[in-house]
């Protein structure tokens, strides 16, 4: 294992993210999934009865539901060959010094403690099944902001947790939401009280270390009236020869006039199935924004959605999908206009190279009565070579006449003329291609906080190494 390169774009994923620590856990369930395992997880966590029952019921739903027959190929996942619960430490730490040394080293390498000091309001760090570190600035705590691991959230704020948990994404929603509901562990619980503006982002970082494991974090965010929060998540994993499964559920409630932005920079290793359900409900004059960057994983199926429940609600989904060799990014978004005078915007940018497959799958639905709803969808695809593929599946279900819906889609290739132009100014071919790709995603990247914009461009550059002949 190499030591930390903190800068430099020449190191590949393997070196920078693909390393792993020795197996490190205080408890690991046996492989496979059944009632006993689910009950064991609940018992290990010392959960209330209702949650244990909820999990067991979700397991039944999971077993009953068929695998999706669209999107990517999930038939190869062997659900009995996965560790569903790997508990890395006996308890969550509040200082980095209390995090076991090798885990601390891992997060140091990923730059998390440094980022926390420089530009974050709070950080959660999950390692396999559990959050090993969690901290929020005192100032925010005093204002009543809750930022805990989901497990701690359930322990310390059971009533609030129970009131919202599973209300946005029920276990019956889809097979993977059911799976998560049965075996969930870790994730974040956030409550922002009325009128509180958390102007510096909160971040959670998800790391898989153990081979053949599944990570099933569960995130619940409640932004109360007139409040505002920006939550950022990042994720990486080692490169193992066998596949891992990451299946999260994220539920967000945005109360009247509140605003929530949820930014993901997903950079899983290429052996991870990333099958995630993310959904928000937005009430009167509230705004929900998903900024979703998908760079890693073997297969991602993820369509962050916004349900616009009351007049004036606004939803935005900005999605970047980058598929390289052996990768399939089935990304996109959904917006349901369930009330009049609601608006939404989806911008999707997908890039495929080296035989990768990236695309947009989306739905805009306007319910009967949702008059004066407005929506625009822009999907642009950039294909870097002949072997790669882009798909666009835009669905529209418009049940109301008095609405304004726009949809535009483009597919382009990196032009020889563009490359020649940049090269004629002294820029080498690889960097020229990376600049064209960075320019392509710029409309989304400029929405990111500066540090993440830099990170995103760096990751793109990493992906672009040696991509042009």
């Amino acid at each position: 294992m190499s030591t930390a390169p903190t800068t430099g774009i020449r190191e590949g994923y393997e070196e920078k993210y693909g390393f792993h620590d020795a197996d490190h856990y205080v408890f690991r369930s046996r492989k496979g999934l059944d009632k006993e395992i689910v009950a064991q997880i609940s018992e290990m966590k010392g959960e209330p009865r209702w949650m244990r029952d909820y999990r067991l019921k979700a397991l039944e739903i999971f077993e009953r539901k068929p695998l999706p027959n669209w999107g990517g190929n999930v038939a190869e996942i062997d659900f009995q060959d996965i560790y569903y619960y790997v508990k890395p430490t006996s308890e969550e730490a509040k200082t980095w010094e209390d995090v076991p040394a090798d885990m601390k080293r891992t997060f140091d390498k990923l730059g998390i403690p440094e980022a926390e000091q420089k530009f974050l309001s709070g950080v959660g760090a999950q390692y396999d099944s559990e959050v090993v570190y969690h901290k929020i600035q005192e100032k925010l705590e005093k204002q009543g902001v809750i930022f805990l691991s989901a497990d701690q959230g359930l322990k310390e704020h059971e009533e609030l947790f129970k009131q919202y948990f599973g209300t946005v994404i029920p276990s019956t929603d889809n097979k993977f939401a059911a799976l998560n509901s049965a075996v969930w562990s870790g994730g974040s619980f956030i409550y922002v009280p009325k009128g509180v503006q958390v102007d510096v982002p909160l971040q959670a970082y998800f790391r898989i270390n153990t081979k053949d494991m599944g990570q099933f974090e569960r995130t619940l965010i409640i932004v109360d009236e007139d409040a505002w929060v920006h939550y950022v998540e990042g994720c990486t994993a080692p490169n193992y020869a066998s596949d891992s499964l990451h299946s999260a559920v994220v539920e967000i409630i945005v109360k009247p006039r509140a605003r929530c932005r949820y930014t993901t920079i997903q950079n899983w290793s290429n052996n991870v199935y990333n099958l995630v359900t993310k959904r928000a409900v937005a009430y009167r004059d509230a705004t929900m924004e998903w900024v979703d960057g998908n760079l890693g994983s073997k297969l991602t199926m993820k369509y962050p959605s916004v349900y616009l429940m009351e007049p004036g609600a606004h939803g935005e989904i900005l999605s970047i999908a980058f598929a390289g060799k052996g990768q399939h990014q089935d990304a996109g978004g959904k917006v349901i206009h369930a009330a009049p005078h609601t608006s939404s915007k989806i911008v999707s940018k997908s890039i495929s190279k080296d035989g990768g497959r990236a695309g947009y799958r989306g739905l805009i639905k306007v319910a009967k009565g949702a008059i004066d709803s407005r929506s625009t969808v822009n999907c642009d695809a950039l294909i870097l070579d002949e072997a790669s593929r882009s798909d666009t599946y835009p669905s529209m279900e418009i049940e109301e006449d008095q609405v304004t819906i726009g949809h535009e889609a483009t597919v382009s290739k990196i032009g020889d003329e563009q490359l020649f132009y940049l090269q004629s100014r002294g820029i080498n071919k690889d960097e020229a291609a990376a600049m064209i790709v960075s320019g392509f995603i710029e409309p989304i990247v400029k929405e990111l906080p500066m540090e993440y914009a830099v990170e995103m461009n760096r990751l793109i550059q990493l992906q672009m190494e040696g991509s042009v002949g």
Binding site: Y421, Q423, R425, G426, N428, E442, V454, N457
Partner: protein, 266 residues
Amino acid sequence: MSHMPELVIRDLHVAVEGKEILKGLSLEVKKGEIHALMGPNGSGKSTLANTIMGHPRYEVTSGDIQFKGESVLEMEADERSRKGLFLAFQYPVAIPGLSVANFLRTALNARLGVAETNGSGAVPRKKGIAPKEFRALLREKMALLKMDESFAGRYLNEGFSGGEKKRAEILQMAVLRPEISVMDETDSGLDIDALRIVAEGVNALAGSDMGVLLITHYQRILNYIKPQFVHVMIDGRIVHSGGSELALELESKGYDWVRDKEEVQS
């Protein structure tokens, strides 16, 4: 003081998709000189410009292009550029999302021999131009071309008017300071004001440090930029060379005059 010309083109034959366009062209350009290359449409002027810069679509079937004593035929365009060649494009392409400033700083750093840094967090081999210094340089060059400062933040050639595109080409030339600059139909599509600004820019840059090969269809730009040498190109060859007076003669008599003259001679 006489010295070896920086750009030496010898008996150049170039084919595009198997069709021969340049049929034995020879030309020399030194720093400090301005050469005008004139000729009718389809004579191969743009082929010459693109071949000098190394566009992969143009195949050199025989002959040579030497720059500062070294053949450039095996070099990619970026290497030629870093050695000091420049092409002002007739039709500059748009690069959406890439700002003029970001692009130019990357290009300048590439020329200065700096590893790709460009916000990527890489450790540069050498220090590139400092952001502050670069901004000052860019501001100075934009003022020279009477460009608004907001121009630096716009995406390269995206939504630019014809005049803005050409000015942006000259701006790049001003920042990168090539030794030999090939300007392909820089005057086309410009109104008279834009033409004057572009020409003033070229005049300000073309001194003892830079040689220019000005490719044009019309005599018009030569009212503003005074070449010492004028060459007439027809059907893939230079058929006639002379001083600046040749341009005026061409204007009044047309290319047929040279064509006829050539036929008489041969």
